[in-house]
Amino acid sequence: MPPKLKTLEDIKQLRESLTAQTADIGHTVTISGGTCGNASGSLKVVEAMRSELASNGFAGKVHVRVTGCQGFCEQEPIVIIDPANIFYCRVSPDDVPEIVNETIRKNQVIERLLYTDSATGEKITKESDIPFYLAQDRVLLSQNRKIDPCSIEDYIAIGGYSALAKVLGGMAPEQVIKEIKNSGLRGRGGGGYPTGRKWQQCREAAGDEKYVICNADEGDPGAYMDRSVLEGNPHAILEGMLIGSFAIGANQGYIYVRNEYPLAVINARKAIEQAKLFGLLSDDILGRHHFDIEIMRGAGAFVCGESTALMASLEGKVGEPRPKDVHTVQEGLWNKPTCLNNVETWANVPQIINKGAAWFASKGTEGSKGTKIFALTGRIKNTGLVEVAMGTPLRTIIHSIGGGPNDGVAIKAVQTGGPSGGCLPAEKFDLPVDFETLAKAGSMVGSGGMVVMDERTCMVDVAKYFIAFLQDESCGKCVPCRLGLSRMLEILTDITEGRGKPEQLDLLEDLGETMTETCLCALGKTAANPVLSTLRYFRQEYESHIQDKYCSAGVCRELIQYSIDPNNCTGCGACLKACPNKAITGESEKPHRINQDLCSKCGICKDVCKFEAISVC
């Protein structure tokens, strides 16, 4: 029967007893689960490990902990053996018997499973020496490393719920708000609104019934920071919401999770159940608060990441945004004062309460305090989740932490902020990542997505991709968004298919500015950014598509042609078999030919050719 934690003393005692228990354990084997881990087969590794340990008599002496995402996604499945802190990556179930025999039984390191530093080529033994981690400031992500998200005991053992205890143990709501204000925490979902100020406005709003919401609708393609925090450390969000609701005066909270994150929904539900069992979500929380949280799922709509659309969805309606002349802190969910914050924002709250506003404010820049998690993906060596202090230059993130280009192809640009953000060229990589700097440069920090692009990426195609995405996701209510996106896509399609005209570039800018000023919601207002930023920094690519009908990256299908060089072609037939349009013909051992009328320029043939006989021009 789990202990109901009724007083601060209860929590302290539980923590101490848990810490005492772990002191007896010999080895701890940490395996990263989470969506990425599962997709890489980590659950099979866990099974194999448990069964191998049991059959070797280690059950009870070796603790196996399955965590959520740790952020080094390329290297999944990851197995870490403590106390020696040995780091194995890309582990398969077949490696497990050797790990148990050599490392656990004999403390021997298995060289081939160690991580190889992409810069030096050296093998690294300890997790604490891995350059990818060393260059980061993993305030939030380091917690994922230490806990099983389905275990509230793990969370309490590392200090979880002590911030809540501190708040309910003697702080006044106004003090809590002051602490958050002084920390300088700004919304991590993209808006960057000062969190303390939002809490204050909600507290001061008229009405007794108030709500707090956690926005876990992370819809930006290429961003998955919130998924990893919600999956890997759901209690941090519960604790943040408990503290926030107390400060604001709300007694009901919602976590709105997009339904494309099934594991996050499961883990968050488990966490809520456990918190209830332990008395941390109830009518009487440590004698001073009462609060309940419900999980609601999204149903596949990017626009529901916008706060008013999210609230409409919670009310069971279509997720259409409404005008924000009256802010949601005054009239939000059910027209009541509502404080909506992003997952990462809530997760930072317990840290700030425990370590103090000054600690948080000591990191980052004047206007952007603290650390931020970025999802670094695309054409880069070390893809994964990166947590750094705000103000860290792009170059550090992309080259020092990210390891620089993959396949030796030069990096051309980085796209930040998702569909609301923009593309910054390599010349701008010395810019520090903070709210003001990126916005001035024509992009934004956004939710944290950072997609790296190289010379094989066509920037006009990228703009078209984002506009097509937004057109798909727009609610369609207002004219400048619905018709503006449709016309932008029409023009970009003209340009990428060789029908572009020079005056269309000015028209794109005029239309983009109109959308930015007049659209009803943030989706529409920021929709033109991918186009405007690529026009600003990569205008020559647009011009060469229009004037020369040339796509330098070899991406725009109407402007390229695939052909087989008869000198290199051995007639192996691999391309013929692989072509989804049956556009390749040829006899065995004789050079093959591509029928341009049937060819869809997908490029699959070039991928499978082992003789470099297929080229694109």
């Binding site: 409404r322 057109q471 207002c478 004219v479 028209l507």
Partner: protein, 231 residues
């Protein structure tokens, strides 16, 4: 017992009824703000964005739709700045390029100063203004019509695409639709659409009293609320 608040529109000090929108207040005072989805007696949804104005807050001008902005004490509004005129013209241009086969759309485009259309014409027969949906739900309480689908697939439809038996066959949806009246020179064939500037002369009247309502024919064309209310 009506409460009043003092607001300023285009420099004019106006006593506005608390709870009304900036658009309604402006029209009450004879200030012209073009609009399409606004219709007297129906709720405002801020969909067409033609009624945008500048709302000056702390020295900064925020562009916002006046139909969904309620008056408040001390509010400062500008309806006729160059920026607003340019934005409004661009929005009207998008509308007429999309659905030129309607007198209302052509007239509102001319009223908003559209002189050329830089996009290829389409020939849609609905601009999603939502008047039909709102009149069915709010005036007749039938709720037989609604906006179905998202983004470019958004369209007006019955449940399951079939007229339900609870439709009262009042035909108000048809009467109130801006697309039902064809352009004055006649319906435009697909591929032969153009911007009809025949009534451009109406603008000369309007320009002689900038920002003021001159009871123009263009307003009659797009069923301007002021003219509808007058009967």
């Amino acid at each position: 017992m009506q409460e009043y608040v003092n607001i300023t529109i285009d420099g004019a000090k106006i006593s506005a009824v608390r709870g009304t929108s900036v658009l309604d207040t402006a029209m009450e005072y004879g200030i012209c703000i073009p609009h399409l989805c606004h219709y007297p007696g129906l709720s405002d949804i801020g969909a067409c964005r033609l009624c945008i104005v500048e709302h000056i807050v702390n020295g900064k001008a925020k562009v916002t739709a006046s139909c969904t902005l309620n008056v408040a004490e001390g509010m400062v509004i500008r309806t006729d700045t160059d920026r607003i005129k340019r934005l409004r013209r661009n929005i009207a241009e998008l509308l007429v390029a999309q659905a030129p086969n309607s007198r209302a759309i052509q007239d509102v485009a001319v009223r908003c100063g559209v002189k050329q259309v830089r996009y290829p014409f389409h020939n849609d027969n609905c601009v999603l203004c939502g008047r039909c949906v709102r009149v069915c739900a709010e005036m007749w309480q039938a709720k037989a019509l609604g906006f179905v689908g998202r983004g470019k697939d958004r369209h007006v439809d019955f449940p399951f695409g079939r007229k339900p038996d609870f439709c009262k066959s009042c035909n108000t949806c048809i009467d109130i639709c801006p697309m039902t009246i064809t352009p004055c020179p006649g319906p435009m064939k697909s591929g032969e659409e153009y911007l009809c500037l025949a009534c451009e002369g109406q603008l000369t009247m309007a320009d002689s009293l900038p920002g003021a309502c001159v009871w123009c024919d263009l307003g009659k064309g797009f069923q301007c609320a002021r003219q509808v209310q007058a009967g």
